[in-house]
Symmetry: C2
Subunit: 201 residues, 2 copies
Amino acid sequence: MSNNTGLCAKPQRRSIGARRNPATEAAILDAAAALVAEKGARGLTMEAVAKRARAGKATLYKWWPNRGALIVAVYERAKGGYVYEEGGSLIDTVAAFYRHLFSLWARPEGGLFALIIAEAQYDADVAEALEGYRLERLAATTAVIERARARGELAPGVDSRRLAETVVAMAWMRLLTRRFDPAEADDLAHAVVGGWIAAPA
Amino acid sequence: MSNNTGLCAKPQRRSIGARRNPATEAAILDAAAALVAEKGARGLTMEAVAKRARAGKATLYKWWPNRGALIVAVYERAKGGYVYEEGGSLIDTVAAFYRHLFSLWARPEGGLFALIIAEAQYDADVAEALEGYRLERLAATTAVIERARARGELAPGVDSRRLAETVVAMAWMRLLTRRFDPAEADDLAHAVVGGWIAAPA
């Protein structure tokens, strides 16, 4: 690649949009997670995270535009990717999903999600980051329900996205009222989606 | 009624368990509501309310053992009693319930409920007061579903209380994500309970 002067020059790596340095990213998320563990969600400020991670605030803001985005990123890392267990009935899929969530939320790093929902009631940045995360997860859940529909498993007449929302809403209710016993997962899944299972042909 | 000395004496009004002076109660709830409107849920402290209401702290604590109980009382007063509209289908009953809640939550005094749920994630007193309120309302919703069942409206196989919880969970989800358009009430009710409506005989 040559520049205008005709000399060969290495392409300049611009910092905006550049690949994240994984070590720096990990250090920042570690620092953020530690701060949350010590001081709760409210203890997480961009300033404190930068200091703790020994990272520049500019780097932080480049990757997470605000505190809300960062706190959701901490939770997402703790959560890891989740792949729905499909292949059985939709009720089983939803029950497995609840068991996964309930186990996660029982762990200290998982409890952060309740605080994110709480903070979202006060802080527009957290609300926005939560909404982004919520919509992403809702799309995944909706796709699961659409696949169940394609297999002929659902009665007609219910919108897949709305049904997906009922699935997630029950999980949130349980999280926010601290009642997430995995032993209830089957019953909850049944109450939420069981009515929409097609009658056997 | 006479006392031990044989003299007639008016029964002494004991403060514990005595009827509340309605004017004092109203003054306290007014003060609490005003503080919440001005400073949010976090601005409500027993001290500040007592001062604002020109009531004794002892009186406050007698009637509301802690801040959590008081803040829920403020919300309950704003909400008023709600009587489910029964007589049509269960879907219609739930839809009307959602319309009522969504209208309430759109008002400033109604928005308090989201803050109560948020505060409950941090404050054990608020969590306890919220749980008491939640269980009371869940019992009312469960009763509605039981009556629908008694009328033969429900398919068998779903626990009434669990179904009631799915109804409430959707409402909470909508409140906490600031999506409570009354125009959606019918669709939401349909998604939540519609699957459990018995097929026509």
